[in-house]
Amino acid sequence: MNIRCLLLALAILCNVGCMTFYDPRPLSNIETNLPIDPQEKVAWVWLPMTERSDIKPYQIATTQNLITLQTTLNPVLVSLAKTNQIAQGKLRKLGGLFDHINGKLDVNRYAMFLAELKAALAVEYPAVKYVFLATIRSEKAKYVDGRVAWAHIEQKIATGPDSSTHYTDVKTLVINVQEVKGDFSKSVQIGLDMKAAPQESKVDRYDEVIMHLWRTFSREKSPVI
């Protein structure tokens, strides 16, 4: 019986591998001078590029993670569902932002989309001072002995005695902070993930990424521990 159990365990290990995943964690502070007060309210809108099939799983996971943290965030984040519904409505009205033949972003339509989105947010949420226009970028980062450090974040994956150096695909969260009733605009970026997006049951992988991002947006910047 014991041998049977051992063989079964071995078979399972052969198929799932011996990987241990580590969640991304802050590595360095994001240097910005964002004039956002922790008592203010902000809105988060996913830009339509995050609906692409390779990005969508990360968008969903980040959204779920934001929702679980929503009550703890300062500045306060207003309803993600509502703000993204407003954005979807504006996009539908404009018929999209991209050329159907060459895929290029139509900058004039994008400007219209932003103007209409901000106007609608100002009506729906008069207290919201800034909107975070969020997208997720794919890029390469250096992998050294199971560890990747990029865009203020580090993440590890243990694969036993694997010791190698190469470049690997990572996802980076890029936030363009725009003033709803003004022209202020500033972008920040922070590493999100070096692995496949988490399943729906895991809603805390990006806890530290989100909290680190929020520290940047508040005036009380905490050092990285």
Partner: protein, 246 residues
């Protein structure tokens, strides 16, 4: 029953780890079956600053190679004209207007239609793509590897400043391996459905070296500055027609 499950899992694992490789046609078969081809050039996007200089060597060399083996070739100009005509058709939606996501299936349909159309129009037998691409050159610090990265028939030292006594002794206790980006010249034969016929490549050089864990990229002025490396890469890739690729 439990043993059956174990062996099924084991066999599944072994099969999953098997890597299929495509076998190139022999040089003799290529020369016999493909007498008239259309040529595409394809350089990795990151190599655009070097493209003109590299192509001024590789393009005439490829023309000579094909001519030497009795293969007539035409430029890709007509293919792109046909592709643009198909693409600009009102019914074509290559990108989702909302997300900007490329419709790969639609793109593939257009490519195959254009290839089939140009093949019939110009009486072609096959398509040849050539150029310089970036790929991984693998290395390990095993002392028998000589501290070199190896790829596409060539090797180059990957340790910044050369391997010293410390690297030698370290190799006994720490097994390190990895990849370093490298350039290769390649020649690829395909049919009108982008079906693989034959491929060969020759390594040119690596793009940087490692100083411990630190990757030190070569300066732009240090890249593709050795004509002998460029020539050697062509010589290796040209074996696709010069000898059988067994």
């Amino acid at each position: 029953m439990i043993y059956r499950i174990f062996f099924i899992c084991l066999i599944g694992t072994l099969l999953a780890s098997c890597k299929s490789t495509q076998k190139s046609m022999s040089a003799a078969d290529l020369k016999m079956n493909y007498k008239r081809v259309l040529i595409f050039e394809s350089y990795s996007a990151q190599l655009m600053p070097f493209k003109q200089a590299l192509d001024s060597y590789y393009r005439p060399q490829l023309s000579k190679l094909l001519a030497k083996h009795g293969i007539e070739h035409v430029s890709s100009k007509r293919y792109f004209e046909i592709f643009d005509e198909l693409k600009n058709n009102d019914d074509t939606v290559l990108f989702d207007p909302v997300t900007g996501q490329k419709n790969d299936q639609q793109h593939q349909v257009l490519v195959h239609s254009a290839l089939a159309q140009v093949k019939a129009e110009l009486n072609l037998d096959a398509f040849v793509t050539y150029g310089v691409k970036i790929r991984k050159a693998s290395f390990s610090n095993n002392i028998f590897s000589g501290y070199t990265a190896k790829w596409d028939g060539v090797s180059e030292p990957y340790v910044y400043g050369g391997a010293g006594a410390g690297d030698f002794f370290k190799s006994f206790v720490v097994q390190e391996g990895g990849n370093v980006p490298a350039a290769s010249f390649y020649i690829l034969f395909e049919d009108e459905n982008e079906g693989f016929l034959a491929y060969n490549a020759g390594g040119i050089e690596i793009f940087g070296t490692f100083n411990g864990d630190e990757y030190i990229a070569k300066e732009e002025s240090e890249l593709f500055d050795d004509i002998e490396q460029i020539k050697h890469a062509f010589m290796l890739a040209s074996k696709i027609l010069n000898e059988d690729n067994e």
